[in-house]
Symmetry: D2
Subunit: 353 residues, 4 copies
């Protein structure tokens, strides 16, 4: 079905998530990194002369690419992965969509727009149907698809099977988030070495609203948010990659712990996603050791696309407690965007090359 | 009132908490470390030849003391601070109490005994009245007084003013605990460097039961546990000292956040404690910066005896969310025991020298 | 040439280096882990029930193996990789060699025995000829081959090309060593978090003597140590894997820095090693960025078998300064042993299965 | 002799070293922080509204000060401590000196000027005599006095007693430097968490040249550099405060290790310094435990003004090896500057208020 590789552009290519895109797309069976876009300041220079590369070995052919300015007029690829900072992403992503590009955005700017799908494919692949409305409402040739905040993604993966089977009614969330979630240079070492910072700007709000949209229902052409209540505490800890999320969950009908564990264990996610190149055999893995998941030891499970759940046990106030952990820059950012693009391509929502 | 310094013994003197006792008692106006007890293996040796000292400068006169075996027959002090491991503390502490010693224990062994007070003086100094019952029930010449688990202590300090004024009905707790809470050698560096371990053996259970006893009511000669429900998640993080505790709290009458903040800010604790040498001007400090408390930066507030609270804000499910942080080996262990001893001495429960 | 896989035993299979052996041998083209040996205490139990596994996914078939006692009478494999602690390794390794086994040892016990080769194959594969003398002198059916201390290995890899081409006359060494070099549980987190410990027991002595043997000359049937002088400072730092070694090096004829850099860059090591399964295309990589190598970022170069050298520059006292970094549990331990075994098998020193 | 407190200004008051000045000057018997200077951007604002304070409790009266622009016309204090970044310090410090201020600079800009003293008072208090030449040569009403780079300071403190008694001829230096040495935000956490960076820009050059000037001889009105050769390796490690410096030292006459140890142990530094408020009873402490000094455990020795030396032992190439460790932002920056100012005031080089 897929013949030639689809050329793709990366917006915000020099930043941390931009680099993760490049690493994950190296050798991708469907996509080929053809264009790199960054700030006016870098435009015209060779990527390898500008980037402070942190993702292992820079693919040599990508290193040779000349950086383009973030303007759709210069871009030939029809797919654009956006890793731009939210301070600038809004209008640029819109310009790309208007110019006919399929924009897969990691920024918060459009996530909560009613006609923009906020998609984790295993959970809500069907929300892509919003794109029809988006096109007609905005009159764009292209579209914007977003993926969720990194901690919201980890939490959503553990909640989805339970919400689908039982119905979630309340969730307490307390996160311990890796430094790579703040980009580079991001968190100053003097702030986090041997320390915990119990605050991440806007993060609790994002978790609370994004979870309800991701787990919401698409009716006709609008999403009805999931009806549960979320209380979130977010914390930064001295971990390189991997957000750890403690959750206490209230479930309709108060199922017992063994039913909850089985539901998590058996979940395989949306059928249309299972054979995509970026989909893992199991999007969720349940571990039964008392002290897992741990970010340093489990973050690369399923090449960083699998969320690991552990310590599934009773909760004294709600129904069940557990810990979920996932790779924030892979599953919670670049890898999630790529999976969204694969979904669009495999379902014909984007024409293949 | 206090004339000569009271000589005290330290049980388990070579361990991490034992060392913190020695540091905190150096120059104490009422107590003088006179006897050090440790395992049979070390007995007879000079303290400074045996200890792997980690608390700054070892007081030279303490370093010269010969280690005694953990047997009350060898001990002349009437006050014994116990920092023994819970695997051995039970019968030894009982033997000391039977032999007429006032035992101030950090171990979990007797905390939940109905006739043993579990005391954080600013909160429940009045629970010391249980000692009368303990003496008569057990027929001991001495007594055992316990202080709480280190995370339970930090949580209790933030909950006490709210429980006293409004009544707590439900609490979600998620901790991020320092490595010094596990003693020395304790946590292996390979387990915690750049990592989070979402499990501490028995810790969640201790928090859940101890909080209710500490905040319980003494009626006649028994404690009625506080009636709230606690759900706890405990985690180990790569921080040296200072347990950080995220809490969502349900309060009777659902007071607004400003009333909660004011209640915390105004709290000075039990009147009989305020002038004790180990009591700080403020047992609780509320900070209003968005990103505090932080363990590395705030752990020594009030010489480690003050618990710092921050991020007091509304909760979507219960009433209020906040973060509390306190020094686990000072406020949550040795310093708490010393304050208990000061309380007993100042109220005449122990005869002064 | 190699038909069936050679079954191998691992002595000290539950420890940190034992686990690294199991990980590295999973899927090895020539060897198959067939027997696991550990202390009397674990013998008879299933490996997966006993081990605290830290190396990713435990190969399921290895997990099912029953642990054998460390006695050659129970062992059928003719190759035994030894990861035993040096406190017990000496007599057990001898017993295995006496019983006809080829023992590839990571322990220090026999490294400096005059008839035991201390081999890093790319450097001194020819030292294996000592085995003839060892057999005849000791009357053993088997042999003991050792690999070097982990920091000595990293230093030796950078020195070898320079010694072979110019002759090293003096070396200053200052190391910054990862915690995994001390095994598990090894270094207590309270000792190393946010800290440097400027001492590792016996490490400086090992570096000073082992380097001279490895880079020494085999004449007839004895090794003449290399004639240079070594001064070493060894330090422990809070890094998971990867020993970083700063060196100032005096070279005969005082070649200029560009000749030194070229010599390092061109070095491919002993010819007979290049096609072994564990040999990388380049045993040594020179990086020219000013701030490399870095352990967290470069430790997995060449799957941990490549040593990375950087900052090659003039020295004010001797001739050249540089930084070398290598994976201490792979190149400096288990991976080095496996390469030694491959060398023996490929050269017919061990009969293939 | 000293009557009223001397009012002082701090240039670069919002940065890391500026904050350390404020902390160390709180309660100083001779000086009072009266004026804070920072960039044009902050000028006019209240200090506590601008600073991201990291040094414990901000002295309230200092927090209320309005920030002044870095222009001597606005400044009334005659003493100015400069913590400005070297990118701007040069001309501003000159302007202050020209305007009659005594500038105590932490920047590298003027350290190597032949008529500017580079002073660590215990070592080379006599170099202050250069100021006479500086005044006449430059025609300034004020002066500039510098203190050394932070690692050079730690190394110099250990070398000074040896150079004074025996004569140093060669030194190998390998440092492991704390993140606070790079200021705030300084080192990105993604660069240093669980890592070593074997490079600090310009640091090796600074150490090599500054050590020779500090330990040089003042003859008439010029300093003759000490004649030894220095080879330095500088590394950044994940430590908050405290630079650890491994040294191999060649000494004239090759004294034995016990003479070296005794020389270090007995050293009290220049007589005119001993009674200054910032001088500690012992500027240097020798520890005999095998594994000390350690930055996290020893950095606050002598309130951060004492350099701790350990592991004094023979060297295989030169004469003696040792490890020195000192507080980089106290002894190696703000504390050193304050001691310089105290020296000037006590010797009448600055008129007292």
């Amino acid at each position: 079905m897929i013949r030639a590789k689809q050329k793709v552009a990366i917006l915000g290519a020099t930043g941390a998530v931009g680099q993760t895109f490049i690493r994950l797309l190296a050798g991708h069976p469907w996509f080929e990194v053809a264009e790199l876009l960054a700030s006016e300041r870098s435009a015209g220079q060779r990527y390898r002369d500008v980037v402070k590369w942190h993702e292992g070995t820079l693919p040599p052919e990508v290193g040779e690419l000349a950086i383009l300015p973030a303007d759709p007029a210069h871009v030939r690829s029809t797919i654009a992965f956006s890793a731009m900072d939210s301070s600038i992403a809004g209008p640029i992503e819109q310009a790309f969509a208007k110019a006919g590009k399929t924009v897969l955005s990691n920024s918060k700017n459009h996530r909560m727009d009613p006609d923009v799908p906020l998609v984790i494919p295993e959970i809500n692949a069907d929300h892509m149907r919003l794109l029809k409305k988006q096109r007609s409402a905005r009159g764009w040739a292209g579209v914007i698809v977003t993926n969720a905040n990194c901690s919201a993604t980890v939490a959503a993966m553990a909640l989805a099977p339970l919400h689908q089977r039982f119905g979630v009614n309340r969730v307490f969330i307390s996160t311990m988030q890796a430094i790579s979630g703040a980009g580079y240079p991001g968190v100053a070492s003097l702030d986090i070495l041997g320390n915990v910072v119990p605050f991440i700007a806007d993060e609790e709000e994002k978790i609370e609203i994004e979870l309800k949209k991701i787990l919401g229902k698409l009716d006709a052409d609008a999403i009805t948010d999931a009806g549960f209540t979320v209380s979130a505490h977010t914390n930064r800890v001295p971990v390189e990659h991997g957000h750890t999320v403690c959750m206490s969950i209230g479930l309709d009908g108060s199922p017992d712990v063994s039913a909850v564990r089985a539901t998590l264990d058996e979940w395989t996610g949306a059928a249309e996603v299972r054979d995509l190149p970026g989909a893992k055999h199991r999007p969720l893995v349940v571990r039964d050791e008392p002290d897992r998941p741990q970010p340093r030891r489990d973050v690369d499970t399923g090449d960083g696309m699998t969320v690991v759940v552990g310590r599934v046990r009773e909760d004294a106030i709600l129904d069940v407690r557990l810990v979920a952990m996932g790779h924030n820059t892979v599953r919670g950012a670049a890898g999630g965007s790529i999976l969204n693009a694969e979904l669009l391509l495999s379902t014909g929502a984007i024409a293949s090359a």
